[in-house]
Amino acid sequence: MSKDRVRVVVTGLGATTPLGGDVASTWSALLDGRSGIRTLTEDWVDSVPVKFAGVAAVDPGEVLPRPEARRLDRAEQFALIAAREAWRDAGTPEVEPTRLGVVVGSGIGGITTILAAYDTFKEKGWQRLSPFTVPMLMPNGAAGWIGIEIGAKAGVHATVSACATGAESIGYGIEMIRDGRADVVVAGGTEAAIHPLNVASFAAMRAMSTRNDEPLRASRPFDKGRDGFVLGEGSGIVVLESEEHARARGAKIYAVAAGAGYSSDAHHIAQPEPTGAGIRLAVQRALEDSGLTGADVKHINAHATSTPAGDVVETIAIKETIGSHPLVTATKSMTGHLLGGAGGIESIFTILALTDRVVPATVNVDDLDDGIEVPIVRDEPHKLPDGQIAAINNSFGFGGHNVAVAFTTV
């Protein structure tokens, strides 16, 4: 592994997901194989062909004081809750403000704010818009609020790359520390898009599962019967820190954030490139950036969204770049797809798999699809070997974004 540059470690984790309001409850639900998907009861479900989603297990309105919640978009609420947990988990570190950064993005931004504000505007006029409408709808809003809260002055950034956003944010955070711009970076992704217009728009692409009679079995990556992704919401955020800074303050270290690899398909705005060339390039670059070989990588948290087009080609790319040995799982089978939040929570799951030496099982794989030649963890969690090992989180997004983030045991 590379010794000639700053090593970056993970010292804090925070999440709010369809499975739980924090990291511990989410992780334990994942290991139990529980589903966070539920039938929607809102009036609007009659107008859309998809009637279920991965709604956040704990409503952010129950966590945040009302004066704070009312000036935040729901995506910002999730991010602030996750960031606070991660920051506490890291021991509320004392950091020189100009050495502290934030990279938190969202795939869509404050879309529920935009739509509700437009209704208010049309019905009641501009004077009745909240003066916080703009900071609520802007996709960098979550990063800005987190930066204010922790006093981050090294730079607050928001990467936007659809469903690769959370992973790209973590990659960017690693780079900020390696480049010497910061000692500590709070990084991750957030999304709150369970709104009829989003459901209708994804349904218009024929990208969503319509298994309305069996919502808990709708998200089924790698299964022959998969028919689309299941929309989820929430946020996953980590605290990245230079190893030197973390050691100096005696911080608990979860894992090494070893490196990231990026590529772009230059193929189609929404469809995966059918040979997996972009995925291979991103994973290969993650290995190179981390100083790892395929043999070091024992586990992959796959992007695998449960769409017919994407899941199998990802496993082929994994086999070609890493080998046929890594234990592969798709946690979206339980959380649904958090879009910009996905790379954040799935990086956390990848890190916890390393620290606990266990990979959660993919649920709903009743009939493994043809052409999958890597071991898919199913039925029950699978142990990871002892010793120094690595794991990779894959995240891909509309636009042709491919991001792979590599973590290793400490």
């Binding site: 004081p65 009302r66 004066p67 704070e68 009312r70 000036r71 909240s130 003066p131 916080f132």
Partner: protein, 79 residues
């Protein structure tokens, strides 16, 4: 019938608490919204809009900037 200072103060305290979380009891006539209660200009807009609804008076933007203290708002509403 015109509202008394106490009635307006109670209404303002409720609005300020709803919008900022500041306890209504801290909203007293001599307090400055910015200097004493630490309320930013965006929240002041929200408070003004809510006060317009509550007390049925129009607070134009060019007047709002002169309303520095709680007492200023009470006087404006009573005027």
């Amino acid at each position: 019938m015109a509202l008394t200072e106490q009635e307006i103060l109670a209404g303002l305290g409720k609005i300020v608490n709803e919008i900022t979380g500041i306890p209504a009891a801290e909203v007293t006539p001599e307090k400055s919204f910015v200097d004493d209660l630490d309320i930013d200009s965006l929240s002041m807009v929200e408070i003004a809009v809510a006060a317009q609804d509550e007390f049925g008076v129009e607070i134009p933007d060019d007047q709002l900037k002169h309303l520095k203290t709680v007492k200023d708002v009470i006087n404006f509403i009573q005027a």
